[in-house]
Amino acid sequence: MNIWGKPVITTRIFAILFLLLSTTVGMGVTSIWNAGQFNQMINRVIVEDIPAIEAAREIETSLANQKGFATYYFLDGDPKWLNELSVHRKVFLHWLDQALLVNQEPKQRNLLEGIQKKFAVYVTEKDRVIDLYKAGDRKTGEELHWKVREQFFELKEMAATYKQVNELNIQQALETSRAKMQRLSSAAVVFMICALIFGVLLAFIMISQILMPIRRLSREAAVTGEPAPPGNEVRLLRTRVHGLMQHIDRTRSELEQSQELLMNSEKMALVGKLSTEVAHSIRNPMTSINMRLFSLKRNIDLTEVQKEDFEVVAEEMRRLDNIVSNFLEFSKPHKLKKRRIDISTVVDMTLDLLFYRLEVHSVKVVRKRSASLPLIEADPELLKEVFVNLMVNACEAIEIDGEVTITEQEAVAENIGRAVVVKFTDNGPGMSEELQKRVLEPFETTKPQGTGLGLFIAVRIVKEHGGTLELHSKEGQGTTFILTFPALEEV
């Protein structure tokens, strides 16, 4: 089941990576923005709120410190009280100026300005009280003093309010900070969960759609079923693909070989068809000529010279007949009449057939035979044709003191398995490498009277028996033909 619909793996991975990156970047941006906000807030608290509250406290204290000096002066007339009062007034004004310097909200500024104005009125009034005391008008002074006292308390109230407002500001800043922190934590948790989900999803896709297929592919790509080499999945796949490529190379070269073979066999089929047509057309008049020759020979008396001429004509006719027969043999598909035979019997038959020819060429035959050879399934007549061909070739190649060794043995051959091998080794002149290549091809012959089809037909017959015919030769060291046939399994 594909819950993803159409998108290909790359699109999926990029989509999830994008989501994952967006989550991470989102988390980062949120953190930076919040950090900035915190920084601003702390700055404000440090630069504005803390100096403001400090000033507010000092204003309250210095105001409170001004209390009582006029009264002391009224009681003992000592001017040091007035000095002290003026010191505290200076301190008060200093802090008031400090507070006014701080950047504040209009509400606080109004409050401060109210305090400033009120304090100016209060100082003026208070100085009048002191002046009245100095002038000795105690009664009027005292009356005014009571009024000024009211103003003092109002001022004190205002200073306290200013301080409270500032404390409230800090309190608010703290609460805002706490709320922000809360929001930031929630956002972080959401982002972390998202990142976790996307990460798991990415891992899932990587494993299920890339790693697992790679592992499966490497397992399936094992060419010869060899065990997995150590290493990671990609290295394993690389090894497998490398193996497959080698396999492809091998297959390609096999294909090329078989194409070549096919072309060759197509060519041969055409040549075969052509030669059959030609051979058939020739054979008919040849039969007629032969009949007439036979009749002539029977009916007339010839002189010695005429007899010799006649014999040459007859011999050449026989040779023509042989060539035509070879051509027909070459083109005719063999119908194998296979039966279970001992290959030695066929060798025996061949040697019987060639008895006189071996005598004529004075060739000695040496036989080497293993004790008990397995049977093979073959057409004895066709095999005999092959053996005769090889033996006649050997006889004709050997110049003096000819010897042909026929070895029959059991063997295990490549692509065949258990096999019966027959070797024909002669002590003739051998063949050059160039000749060895050509001699198994059709129409290649070293003999002035040959058709160049004998060995080609021999190879074909052996192949039709599921066997192989190989040629080993060195110039001056004789030639060996090795024929390998699949052995019948013993029942």
């Binding site: 008919n284 032969n290 009949m291």
Partner: protein
Amino acid sequence: MGSTGVILIADPNPFVRSFLSRELKTAGYQTAEAGTSREIVNYLHSGHLPALMIMELDFPIAVGMNVLNRIHDLVPTVPHIIYTHLTEYENSSEAKKADAFIEKNDDPDELFQTIDAVLARYQSKKPLR
């Protein structure tokens, strides 16, 4: 042996036909010749059934088995000897219906002996017309 009837020699090569005809006539037989499958069929349709047929299988156009099949259909009782170099047909079912199958070579003696033998066998079974 002159009274045994006509031997039809069917062969595409006129020189083979004339040679066989000459030799058979010398031996006392009557002969007729056919060089194509059409001539064979014409002869068989003319109302003269031969006493024996000597057949080559290698006729142009109507090759081998086709001619033989036609003859088997037309005159199934006429004895015939296949005399040919197409030895690959020797074991075919059609060729096995023939009275003899002889490979054509330079010595016609085997053919002549077989003709005598086949005719003798047929004459002993039933008298010819």
